[in-house]
């Protein structure tokens, strides 16, 4: 197991280097002179020259990448053009807020998705199965930004149950309750599409498992249906679901850009959106790098969990 963990972490290095290369190249995609793009057409020539020098734009591109990578490894993601502050602390603060939203959405997606998938599979072709699969199809076909707008329209503007924007009340106390109050709509919006995918995968995985011999044996020896489903079938059906939850987490991190924009949730997505409209490229670059790294690390954790949970898997020991 220890060797597997080490190998898995070692395999991560080229991927992380690749991510850094893509993030670096993003800035190279900006048409024309990056310094001009960063400072705008009104920039003074001396400021442009200074920035070109600071960004190392006069060096060969390989040298530029290695210098940039060296700085990134030391935690220096550059300076925000708009706010004139270092990018990393700015993004890390926002990233915590995104994690709150994403984790909440993942919990919602997993709870709804696994429950709906298990019930659908155990009662295949029942009314519940049909309705939940149609709802899963709806969830999978609905643009999250629009679902968010509809949620705001109904639950904020008309019913007044939840706030339409932000993470905390503008005035008043900041506690867990006010956070949850603000979190409900964005987390539901973000989680519903993921719940749809999780439900479909749990259902098909559960259907595969239910037909296995050991489940039939468990039934035949007179175990209660509840024990058969939860104790024997679900435990094994959850393995593919775990992988999906890991992938979904990344999908939700990406989807957070839209949800945060709709709900003005002060996360990394909103920071990215604002940075894009201000053409603040170091923030865009840093944000992309941070989210991709987080995604890769989550998938590593999922892979390792997989090895712990599934007794059939022995990784090269």
């Amino acid at each position: 197991m220890g060797a597997y963990v080490l190998r898995r972490i070692a395999a991560l290095i080229p991927v992380l280097l690749g991510i850094s290369l893509v993030a670096f190249l993003l800035l190279q995609l900006v048409p024309g002179d990056p310094a001009l793009a960063l400072l705008g057409p009104m920039a003074r020539p001396e400021n442009l020259a200074e920035l070109r020098d600071a960004l190392g734009l006069n060096e060969p591109i390989v040298v530029q990448y290695l210098r940039w990578l060296g700085r990134v490894l030391q935690g220096d993601l550059g300076t925000s053009i708009q706010l004139r502050t270092p990018v990393l602390p700015l993004l890390l603060e926002r990233f915590t807020n995104t994690l709150i939203l994403t984790v909440a959405a993942t919990i919602i997606a997993t709870l709804i998705g696994v429950a709906a998938g298990v019930i659908s599979a155990t009662r295949q072709f029942s009314l519940f199965d049909r309705v939940s699969m149609i709802l899963a199809l709806f969830g999978n076909s609905m643009p999250a930004f629009w679902l968010g707008l509809m949620a705001i329209l109904i639950f904020s503007l008309h019913l007044g149950w939840f706030p339409a924007a932000g993470m905390w009340p503008i005035t008043g106390e900041r506690n867990l309750l006010t956070l949850l109050h603000h979190l409900t709509l964005p987390a539901l919006t973000l989680g519903i599409a993921a719940a749809a995918v999780t439900a479909r995968i749990t259902r098909s995985s559960m259907l595969d498992v239910i037909r296995q011999d050991y489940v039939r044996t468990a039934r035949a020896k007179g175990l209660r249906e509840r024990t058969v489903v939860l104790g024997h079938a679900l435990q094994n059906a959850l393995l593919p679901v775990l992988t999906v939850v890991g992938v979904q987490f990344g999908f939700l991190l990406g989807g957070a850009v839209l949800t945060e924009t709709v709900f003005s949730w002060p996360g990394i997505g909103l920071a990215l959106y604002n940075a894009i409209s201000m053409r603040d490229f170091p923030v865009v670059q840093g944000g992309v790098l941070l989210v991709a790294t987080a995604f890769v690390l989550v998938n590593l954790v999922v892979d390792l969990l997989y090895a712990v949970i599934d007794p059939r898997i022995h990784y090269g020991d």
Partner: protein, 302 residues
Amino acid sequence: MSSEQTLAHPTPVPTGVARPRPQSQLSIVWRGLRRDRFALLGGAIVLLALLCALLAPVLAPHDPLAQDAANRLQPIGTPGHVLGTDTNGRDILSRLIYGSRIALLVALAPVLFSGLLGLALGLLAGYYGGWVDGLIMRLADIMFAFPAILLAIAIVAALGPSQLNAIFALTIVFVPAFARLVRSQVLTLRTQDFVIAARALGVPTWRIITRHILINTLPICIVFATLQTGQMIIFASALSFLGLGVQPPTPDWGAMANEGRNAMLVAPWVTTIPGLAIFFVTMGFNLLGDGLRDALDPRMKL
């Protein structure tokens, strides 16, 4: 003789007796689709969207760009404006109909391009293996490390917001998924007897790839492309919603939903209607894709 034995040892058909005509895969798929009501519904929605796009100038009652300040935010059912008007007094129905052109173009073009690129890369990786496979798959791994929508947003943000750049970004983002799918298919196919036999007979490699392998990967690619088109419509509209795709005043569903945000309390239809259009067309492609998958092979894991 039991039916199982009949299957295992079919009685030789005497010469001179007409054999049943072999069925093409297309006719089998069509028969499967015809029985699937949901797939037919999906197909009908997709067809409707295609017709709207093709016949937009005939179907649209108004110029989608014509502004009418005196008739801003007219509600649904207003005479002359069945679906009302937007914040600039433009006819929503006409914009919706013209918007189907953009929605389908920005969704289908990346699916086509990423499909072709993915097919080529997947065939190369799967058939040749070795360092070619290693290189292509490591590149795919790196691309998979980015949440797709985030990478698309970042690419368009760097290149500058436009319809063409949105198509480019979405193409790049979806290539790895296609390549990985095709590769896995090729890896299974290349060890099949008919491929080994063709190789033993000295059939040239390019012919094995095109006539034996490519042709057998196409069904799963078509199913995947159909399902991807649904997701692509959501992605493309999301880019426009963020102001990164099609630029105003071109009618685009994502941009239309965004334009109505500020007037949502007084005129919710401006945002609701384009969102419903995205939802229905995406659902159409999803239903059609699910139906195609079931008709081709219900056990297909997609």
